[in-house]
C-alpha cells in the first residue's frame, strides 16, 4: 500500500490520527498552542459526515463530547492548560459514567494564562488528579510528530476498550513542530470500538460483563433503557447510596486500568542494556534527552534512556526494575519534578534520582541534560 510521506505538524498529525480512529464529533474552544487541531477538525469533519462545534467555553466543550459519545459517536476535544482546568469536572463525570472520550492537552506554561506560546510539561499531575475523587484515566505522551498520529489512534482505542477518558498530553514543541513523517495506510490500523450489547432485553448498562470489568455500552436513541448520572449508581445506572454498591463501583473502575496496566503501558528504550545512568523522560524533553544520551555515550559514559509513551498508569514495574540495576536516574522535565516524584516512588530508593527542571518556557538544550548525566555518573 502507498504510504504518505510528508512534512507534517504535530497538531495536524494528531487530528489526522483522530480521523483515522473514527472521530465523528469535535467540540472545543480554540486555544494556543492547540488551535490547529480545532481548525483542521472544522475543515475535515464535515467532509466525512462528522460534526464540529465551537462551544462557548471549555466546560461546555467537554460536556458536548460526552453527550455525543453517549449517542455512539467517537468524540474529542483539544485544549491547553487553562482550558484543561475548566474541563476537569466533566472529565470526572466521564470517568464515573464510563463514557469514552479523548482529551488533547497541548501544554503551555502555567499556572493560569501563563505563557501562551511557550512549551511546558506542567500538567502531568493535573492529567492524573485534576478532577476530584479516585478515578481511572489513561494519559499518553507523544515524543515526535509521527507519535502524535499513532498515540491519538491509540487513545481512541484504549478509551473505547475500557470506557475511560483518554488524554493525549502534548506540549507546544511537539504540537507545533513539523517534521518528515511516513503515516501508515488506513488498512494497516487496528481500530477498536466500545463493547456493545446484543439485546435490549434485560440490558443493565453498568453490569461489568466483559473480562476486564467493562460494561456493554448501548448508544442513546436506539431503544435501550439507560440512565446516566454523576451520582454513584448500581448496575441499572440509577443512583444508589448503598455502601456495598459504592465500594464495588469504585473498585471496579480502578481495576479496569490497574489490572490492565501491563497491556496499556508503553515506553521505548535506548541503550539501556549496559546502562549505568538512565534518563527517564517524555514528550519534547525526551528529544533533548536523546541527544544528551548519545553525546554521553560518545564521551564514554554508559547512559541510556527510557521514554514514557504512557505516563498514566505509571509503569512502576519497569522503573523499579531499571532502578535496581543503575547507579542513578536523571529525570529531565519542563516542570518542577512531577514525573520525578513518580520515579522516586517507583524506584524505592534503589537508585539516586536527579531532577532536572526547566520552567522558563524554553526547551532543554542537550548540554543541560548532558551535564546532569555527567554529574550523576560521578
Amino acid at each position: 500500500m502507498p504510504r504518505t510521506v510528508k512534512l507534517m505538524q504535530g497538531n495536524e498529525a494528531c487530528t489526522v490520527g483522530a480521523l483515522a480512529a473514527g472521530l465523528e464529533f469535535y467540540a472545543g474552544y480554540p486555544i494556543t498552542p492547540s488551535t490547529e487541531i480545532a481548525e483542521l477538525c472544522a475543515e475535515e469533519l464535515p467532509k466525512v459526515g462528522g460534526s464540529f462545534i465551537q462551544m462557548e467555553d471549555e466546560i461546555a466543550s467537554a460536556a458536548a463530547i460526552i453527550g455525543a459519545s453517549l449517542t455512539g459517536k467517537k468524540s474529542m476535544t483539544a485544549t491547553s492548560g487553562p482550558g484543561f482546568s475548566l474541563m476537569q469536572e466533566l472529565l470526572g463525570y466521564a470517568s464515573l459514567c464510563e463514557v469514552p472520550v479523548v482529551f488533547v492537552n497541548v501544554q503551555r506554561v502555567g499556572p493560569s494564562t501563563g505563557m501562551p506560546t511557550s512549551p511546558a510539561q506542567g500538567d502531568v499531575m493535573q492529567a492524573r488528579w485534576g478532577t476530584h475523587g479516585d478515578h481511572p484515566v489513561i494519559v499518553l505522551s507523544p515524543g515526535n510528530v509521527k507519535e502524535c498520529f499513532e498515540l491519538t489512534v491509540r487513545a481512541f482505542n484504549l478509551s473505547e476498550r475500557y470506557r475511560v477518558p483518554a488524554i493525549v498530553l502534548m506540549d507546544e514543541v511537539i504540537g507545533h513542530m513539523r517534521e518528515k513523517v511516513e503515516l501508515p495506510d488506513a488498512s494497516e490500523l487496528v481500530i477498536e470500538s466500545r463493547p456493545a450489547p446484543k439485546s435490549r432485553v434485560g440490558y443493565k448498562p453498568y453490569a461489568a460483563e466483559t473480562d476486564g470489568g467493562v460494561p456493554l455500552m448501548a448508544p442513546f436513541g436506539e431503544g435501550y433503557r439507560w440512565h446516566v448520572t454523576g451520582l454513584f449508581h448500581d448496575e441499572t445506572g440509577f443512583p444508589s447510596n448503598k455502601p456495598e454498591v459504592a465500594d464495588r463501583l469504585m473498585r471496579r473502575l480502578a481495576a479496569k486500568i490497574d489490572r490492565n496496566e501491563p497491556v496499556i503501558r508503553d515506553f521505548v528504550t535506548e541503550s539501556l542494556d549496559d546502562c549505568e545512568v538512565a534518563v527517564i523522560s517524555f514528550g519534547s524533553s525526551a528529544m533533548s534527552a536523546l541527544s544528551a544520551v548519545r553525546k554521553a555515550r560518545a564521551a564514554g559514559i554508559k547512559a541510556g534512556m527510557l521514554r514514557l509513551r504512557t505516563i498514566w498508569p505509571f509503569p512502576d514495574e519497569a522503573v523499579r526494575e531499571l532502578s535496581s540495576r543503575v547507579k542513578a536516574i536523571v529525570v529531565p522535565e519542563m516542570n518542577l519534578g512531577q514525573v520525578a516524584l513518580e520515579v522516586e516512588r517507583a524506584s524505592r530508593c534503589n537508585a539516586k534520582v536527579a531532577r532536572v527542571s526547566k520552567v522558563n518556557g524554553e526547551l532543554f538544550r542537550p548540554e543541560e541534560i548532558l551535564a546532569a548525566i555527567m554529574e550523576a555518573a560521578k
Binding site: 510528508k6 513539523r178 517534521e179 518528515k180
Partner: protein
Amino acid sequence: MRTEFRLSGSGGQGLLLAGIVLAEAAILEGKNAVQTQSYGPEARGGASKAEVVVSEDDIDYPKAIDPDFLLALTAEAYRTYGKVMGRGLVIVDASVPQSPEVTARTVRVPILATAADELGKKVVANIVALGVLGRVSGVVDLPTLESAVKNRVPKGTEDLNLKALRRGWEIAAAAAS
C-alpha cells in the same frame, strides 16, 4: 551532516512559512528536516523566529544549537541572534545598520528592498529571503525549492512567489561574490 537555520524577524513577515518551505524542499530531496518556531502572543509585530534543521541522518534535538545560517530581517533580530552566532554565517537585510556586537561572518543582502521596490510587494520578502538562503546554503536545489513554494503558498500567488524566489536566488550570487 546537520545543517541548522535560524530565520528571524518580526511577526507577520512570513518567516515561519519560509521555514516550512525550506523544510519541505529538504524532504522532497529525500533528507530529514525538522522545523520549529518561537513567537510572541501577537498576531503581527513582536519577535518571531523559525528554525529548520536539515540532515541526512536521524534528527534528535529539533532546535538550532549553533546555527550554520542566521537570517535577520529586522535590527532587533540581527542584534539579538547575531551576537550569539558562532561559526555560522549571518545573512542580514541591507537596510539594517551594522552592529559591533555582531562579530560573526556577515553578508548584507537587499531582501526587503527587492521585495518592495523591484517586485512591488513587500509581503514576498520571506520568499526572496528563502531564495537567498537556498543559494547561500547549498542545502537544496532551486527546482526543489520551486516545487515546495508551489505546494505551500496561497493559491493564485504562485507566479509572484516563484518570481520572488528566483530573484532571491540571483541576488544571493551577487552578495556572495
